[in-house]
Structure formats: C-alpha cells, structure tokens
Symmetry: C2
Subunit: 287 residues, 2 copies
C-alpha cells in the first residue's frame, strides 16, 4: 500500500462536499500527506465548518457550492446517499472542465442511474465507496488514517476515459486504500451481504434487549450489535437505495437461521456442529 509522499501534490484543489466523518477524514489525510495543495469544504452550517478549519481538517469553508466547485480539480461528494446524485449534478454545473467528481456513498446502483439521467460528460463522475467508517458521525471523529489498508470500490463505466480511472485510483491509493473496480450492481450485491445485512441483523438483535437485561450483556452482545448505534437516517437512505439486494441477503439469513431453529427444536447436535463449524471456518478467513 503506497501512500503519497508529501514532496509533490497530486493536484491543486480538493473540494469536499459534506464535511462529516468521511469527508473530514479525507480532508485530514490529504492535508497531512500533501496530496492536494488546498482542501476546501462545503456545508450548510458555516459555524460548524469554521470549527473544521480550526481543527485543521479543511483550509477554507464555503456554504455556497458555486465558488467551491469552480475551484475544484477533484470534488468528493460526502453527503448521505440520497443526496449524492443531486450534489454531483450541482458540482458539475460549476466545476472546471477537467475536474473529476466522485463520492463516498455506500450504495452505487441508484446513484449511477440518477447521475446518468443528468447526462454529464463521459468520465465526469466516477462513483467511489471506500469501505471505511464507523457508527460515529461528524468531523469531530475524523482521523487521517481512516482509509489506510482499506479497500475502495470504484465504478467506472464503459465510457470512462482510462486516464480518469487512473487519476481516481492514484487518489485513493494516496490516502492508503486499495482500489477494486466493480459495476454498480455488483457493488450493491456485495455490500448488501458484507455491510447492509449485518447492520439489519445488529439493529434487530439490539432491539430485542429489554433495559433490565443491560447488566448481563457481555462483549459478545456488544460487538455483535455495535453498528446498530449508527445514525438511523443515514441507514434508512442506504437501505432504501439498496432494497432488492438487501432483501435477497436478508432472505438468505432468515433461511440460515431457520436451519438453526430446526436443529435446536430437534435437539440435533450434529446439525448444530455443522452449522457452527461452517460459520467459524468462514469467520476465521477474516483473521
């Protein structure tokens, strides 16, 4: 994983639209590593953005998209997924011809469709999804190493010029990530299983715990349900944007749980052993 050496900038101006956990971490990483000469942040609340400037996360703050976008060499839209396509369209109206626009959204299919409908020039937008983040929100939790050793999925299409794919790949490499290109629908199937399903399972489990049992909770329950503390609004957007794939993944989980239910009701230790061993084998691959 080669991160950028700060003896030369990859480009001049990075515009971050939406300075939260991901946008803030991207700002920190790019400033610390000298990836962009200047990092500007766009948001709705100037007083919050001023704090992000004070914290060294961005160099300059904007509440108007136009002046920010017009300076950008690379614009990264870090809004909730249901606002990404419109923000991409707006940035594209004002950004210089050479500028590339990407995002960090956790879904790709609906964003791809909505951006296509805007008929931007080929290669103007390439979707990204860095698999990094946490249940926390806000730039106060931003860390410059958030993207180190992580995978970033990007979604170029058949019309994307190769040099634009290379530029975006270099950018994600420079903040420490490994890039894997996928079609938007493949991306959505993958993350339905690796991210959206675990979120649903964690939230469902967490919800079953009555308050009086809190003292009896150990690290197992805590870990298994940690992501359920994520912002519900963000997750409604994500799940609504990836409904079919998440529904398929959820049906698979329900089928698997039914196998446990049958094994338990029949007292079938052999079946339980088979199920648990398959789970362990699969989980141990991640260690």
């Amino acid at each position: 994983m080669s991160t950028h050496r700060p003896d030369s900038f990859l480009f001049n101006t990075l515009a971050i639209v939406g300075v939260g956990l991901l946008g803030g971490s991207l700002g920190l990483a790019c400033r610390e590593r000298g990836i962009a000469k200047r990092v500007i942040g766009v948001g709705r609340d100037l007083s919050r953005l001023a704090k992000a400037v004070s914290a060294g996360i961005i160099d300059e703050a904007f509440v108007d998209l136009k002046p920010a976008a017009s300076q950008a060499d690379l614009a990264v839209v870090c809004t909730p997924v249901d606002q990404v396509a419109d923000a991409v369209g707006e940035v594209s109206r004002f950004a210089p011809e050479h500028a590339l626009i990407t995002d960090v959204g956790s879904t790709k299919g609906t964003i791809d469709l909505a951006v296509r409908a805007k008929r931007l020039p080929p290669g103007r937008f390439i979707g990204s999804h860095p698999i990094a983040g946490s249940e926390k929100v806000g730039f106060e939790h931003a860390v410059s190493h958030l993207f180190d050793w992580k995978v970033c999925i990007i979604c170029p299409d058949e019309k994307t010029p190769p040099e634009r794919v290379e530029f975006l790949t270099n950018f994600w490499n420079s903040v420490g990530s490994r890039v894997i290109p996928l079609a938007p629908s493949d991306h959505d199937n993958v993350v339905a299983l690796t991210s959206h399903l675990p979120h649903v399972a964690a939230a469902a489990l967490a919800c079953l715990l009555p308050q009086e049992l809190v003292p009896f909770v150990g690290t197992g329950f805590r870990d298994t349900t940690r992501v359920a503390s994520g912002n519900p609004d963000l997750w409604v957007s994500i799940l609504m944007n990836n409904r079919p794939a998440t529904a398929v993944a959820l049906a698979s989980l329900q089928q698997m749980l039914s196998k446990y239910q049958v094994a338990l009701s029949h007292g079938n230790a052999e079946a339980l052993a088979g199920l648990l061993t398959a789970g362990k084998t699969s989980r141990d691959r991640l260690s």
Copy 2:
C-alpha cells in the same frame, strides 16, 4: 468494585478443574491478588499443565482429581458445560466437608438438574456464570483482569446456607466481579438473549460470506461476526444445554427480521426508520 488486597488470603487452596481460558484467568487473578494461598490445576494433559505452571497460572498440576479435590477449600469446575455436573459429583466425592464447589458454565438449568440428582449436601455446590471470556480458547490467552468489572451470576437455591453464598460472593468480588443471584431458569432465559442468540446470529451471518467477498469486508461485518470464531464443540454443548430458551430467543429475532423484510419489500422508509431507531436506542444504552 472492590478487589482483594493481598495482605490476607480469603482461603487456602483453590482447585481449578479444567485450566483453559477461564480457569487459567481465574488462576492468574487469584495468584496475582493473593486470594488463595495456593492454586492447583486439574487436567488431562500433564505436559500442558506443566506449561501452565511455568506460565505462573497455577502453583501445581494434577491429572488425578482425587488428590487435588481432597485439598480444595474452593473448587471451580471450568470444563465444557456438558461435563460440569459429572465433574462436580467427582470433586464432591473427594473434597473436604467444608469445601465449596462452583463452576463457570454458560448454562445453568441442565447443570442444576443434573447436580440435584447427585444429592450432594445442601450448599455443597452453587453454580456460577461469570460473564467474561472471548472467542479464544486455552490458558495461553488467560489474563488476570478477565473478570474485572464483569457481572457474575450465581444460582444458590432455597437450601443454600447464607454463609456459603457470602463466601462465593466474596470470592467473585475479589477477582473484580459484581455478583447477581438468579434462579437457573431465569439465568438461562437471560443468556439465551444476551449471549446464545448473538452467537447463532453471528455464525449464521459469517457462514453467508463467500470467500471471494473477503476483501470487501469492513469493521462492521468483522465485529458483528467476531464471536462466530468461538469453538464449535463448546457452543454445541451450550446450545444443546439451553435449547428451549435459545429457540424462543431465535424466534423473536426471526420475527424482528421479518419486519425488516416487509419494510424493505414495501419500500416503507418510515417503518425502517422506526425499526432502526429502536435498535439504536437499545444499543446506545450499552455505551
């Protein structure tokens, strides 16, 4: 949480039957804090036990139960749950009249029934379940602070002399734990929800991940499935010992997941928001 001060021993000899992660951690805690004058370990494999002696986990190793049990003031059975009742019976045959026997098993109902059938003197055995541990096995992972700030459920019955409950409570307090007494069936209902259900959910989720998706896995999936790496044999014992309560808890999870499935298939953002918010509210209580 008052831990024991090493200027006086609580009792002379602690016998640990089964020197694994929990037994080993108990040995370390009792030796480091001077809770027992001597900690002896019983196991099947003398060469492994010799390593536990070298590692400072126990003072002396035994493969025969009789000489170990006959010296014990407190014996803690740390075997897999399906072997606890028989081990308790054997220890009781050889232990001095004043000795107390307990265990660390994750289920309590079937152990209670099986031990009752052995007709030991009242208060000879009081079941314990320290809510501590991890997916790791073996005394190599033992740590002396494993029980610090944890809850330990104990299951005295109506015939247990109060001074024996007090002795056991003092013991668990001395290794850093807070004691909560529960009836065995209440214990089993509680842990079905807080521990056995999350294990099943984690193993089921882990199992759904095809190997080719491993690179796309983030911290969310990792945390949600961590416990699935636990030893399947131990978990078959646990689930088989707590079948009815786990089956009820699993049915609740399946019902909750069905609500998500309905909300997803109808594209009902409001219902999803309600479900996710309830999950977050519940999970946030643990922070």
